[in-house]
């Protein structure tokens, strides 16, 4: 394998690893949408938090303040 190919492979692996780890978790607007989605899913809750988690299933999660329950909202939110 040539040096160029090794470099290309290493870059591809790094990018794939980053996407797997962070995915849309790197997109600020997605966190805003997650917040809005969470609010709509739990209209009676007055406190909640959102965040990206790679495990157990990668995606945006909504955690409700009063119960501590977490709900996976999805990988890419619209």
């Amino acid at each position: 394998m040539t040096r160029t190919r090794r470099l290309a492979l290493a870059t591809a692996v790094t990018v794939l690893a980053l996407v797997a780890l962070f995915g849309p978790g790197l997109v600020a607007n997605q966190s805003q949408i997650a917040s809005g989605t969470c609010s709509q899913k739990y209209p009676d809750e007055t406190r909640f938090s959102v965040g990206w988690r790679p495990l157990p299933v990668p995606g945006w999660y909504c955690t409700v303040g009063s119960t501590g329950d977490s709900l996976r909202l999805g990988w890419w939110l619209r």
């Binding site: 600020a28 607007n29 709509q40 959102v50």
Partner: protein
């Protein structure tokens, strides 16, 4: 994406919401006012690179809206203020946001405001809630809304109890 330390209750001690016809015919404004106690603001500033947005959210499930979608003008006396224009906000819940990217520059006991103005919507009345949102700048040197990640939200006027037009204050 990030593990966060918990610093305690960070939200404003009270929020006042107000909306009215503007002094400029054909337009309407929304305004929030809010204050942090020393304890609350210390807690807020303990979080990593904190940001704050008082989201003025209107009820549009019925297709009636007091404000039109696009903001004409905005203002705030919070330092490092910005207008957030969410591109994918829900048609059912429209969000108007003027926030600050630097909570560390806020002072306790001081009343701040956020203001936005739009052209008239298709209805003379509506209802709203205010979502106090704590965010985080990632990376910390970036003040762009592209770098502000929503972390936690506390809802004022839950159940759409803020009359539009009108005014109300809620303590939390």
């Amino acid at each position: 994406m990030t593990t966060e330390r918990s610093c305690g209750d960070w939200w404003p001690s009270w929020i006042n919401g107000r909306s009215n016809p503007s002094s400029l015919a054909g337009q309407r404004y929304g305004r929030t006012k809010f204050t942090w106690s020393s304890t609350r603001l210390s807690a807020f500033q303990c979080y990593t690179d904190p940001t704050f947005e008082p989201d003025f959210v209107t009820y549009n499930y019925d297709g009636k809206y007091y404000f039109s979608k696009s903001v004409q003008s905005w203002s705030t006396d919070m330092p490092n203020g910005y207008l957030d224009t969410p591109f994918a906000d829900s048609a059912d819940e429209r969000v108007y946001t003027v926030g600050t990217s630097r909570v560390t520059h806020l002072d306790p006991g001081r009343t701040y405001y956020s203001y936005f103005r739009t052209t008239n919507g298709n209805s003379g009345s509506d209802s709203a809630k205010v979502v106090a949102q704590r965010g985080r700048r990632i990376p910390s040197w970036c003040d762009s809304t592209w770098c502000i990640f929503a972390q936690e939200s506390v809802i004022y006027f839950n159940g759409w109890t803020l009359p539009v037009p009108g005014t109300s204050t809620m303590y939390r």
